[in-house]
Amino acid sequence: MNRFIRPLIILATAGLLVSIYLTFKTYDPASVACSIGGGCETVLSSSYAKIFGIPVSIFGIVWYIGGLILIYLALIKGTVSQGWIKYWAVAGLAFSLYLLAMEIFYIHAYCTWCMVSLGIVTASLILVFWPQPTKTT
């Protein structure tokens, strides 16, 4: 996994920025609107945009920050098992697919930035599970 450390850092940081942006959009009064052709406004103003009153993008922020901490501790410092990164990636994809299902079956609109986040999560998962070359001496 080590050769993917830097791509993983960039992906997790980019995802964090997207989640922060979406959180701002959730609280922006102008986003409480339905957009022509759907879009983020429709998704973010829907009742599915919050879980227990917390915007789903907050969960995204927590997930990406957790990922950055794990990358640092497991891949750079080596003080935590690398297996945690795999749990992190699988949990992220599961949650993202749940959100995608909400968009498809209930909200009937798609938010581009949510799709970007899904792409980041998927790419992170691929990198985490990509077979590592065996070390030769």
Binding site: R6, T13, Y21, P29, A33, C34, G37, E41, A109
Partner: protein
């Protein structure tokens, strides 16, 4: 520190700078150039001589419009001497029954019950939004509001009502409306639902502007 460790720190620093930059420079919404909206067209509530005219471009199936309707009506009722509400239809194609709900509202308007139907459509949005054919549900509302059901049905599918909706959509397009609800308060564009307090501030500001313009 390893190369990866340094890389990690630099990426985090860049991200923090990006966030700070976004908060400082990106938080402000872009300019909303004012446009002149014809306030003589559309369904009107309140006096034509009101100093503050709030034009709503709305879609009855839009959840955000539903959220906006209550505070707007409350603010209107508190300021009914000074405010006139005007509704224009912009049924969005992403909502399956948006066109039909606009037809129902305009058909109610033909019997002088537009604003009563406006309230019912928003209040009952979840009931009719997913129906394959919402007409019978709309007829139930019309009957409950004391309308002639046969006239309502005939107006619902009339070319006159279709023309009103087409004309409203064209006006929305011309005004650069890209989402609902979009309001024009004395031609100032406001996008999205507002609270009663926000409406009160906007109305007070517009009344002050009207007063200073008259002096």
């Amino acid at each position: 520190m390893s190369g990866d460790g340094k890389f990690f720190i630099w990426v985090i620093i860049a991200a923090v700078l990006a966030i700070v930059g976004f908060i400082i420079f990106g938080g402000k919404s872009s300019d909303n150039p004012d446009v002149v909206i014809d306030t003589t067209v559309g369904q009107r509530l309140g006096s034509d001589s009101a100093k503050v005219k709030i034009v709503e471009f709305g879609d009855f199936q839009c959840p955000a419009c539903q959220a906006a309707a209550g505070p707007l009506k409350q603010a209107y009722e508190k300021n009914s001497k000074d405010v006139q509400l005007i509704f224009r239809n912009i049924p969005l194609s992403i909502h399956s029954n948006a066109d039909e709900s606009s037809q129902a509202a305009e058909a109610a308007g033909k019997q002088g019950k537009f604003w009563e139907m406006y309230d019912v459509l928003y209040a009952e949005q979840s009931t009719w939004a997913q129906l394959a054919n919402p007409l019978e549900q709309f007829v139930t509302y019309a009957t409950a509001l004391g309308m002639d059901a046969d006239k309502f049905r005939s107006d619902y599918s009339s070319s006159a009502v279709a023309k009103i909706i087409q004309s409203d959509k064209a006006a929305a397009d011309q005004a650069g409306v890209t989402s609902t609800p979009t309001f024009f308060v004395n031609n100032e564009k406001i996008v999205g639902a507002q609270s009663v307090e926000q409406w009160q501030n906007i109305i007070d500001r517009k009344l002050a502007e009207a007063k200073s313009a008259n002096q």
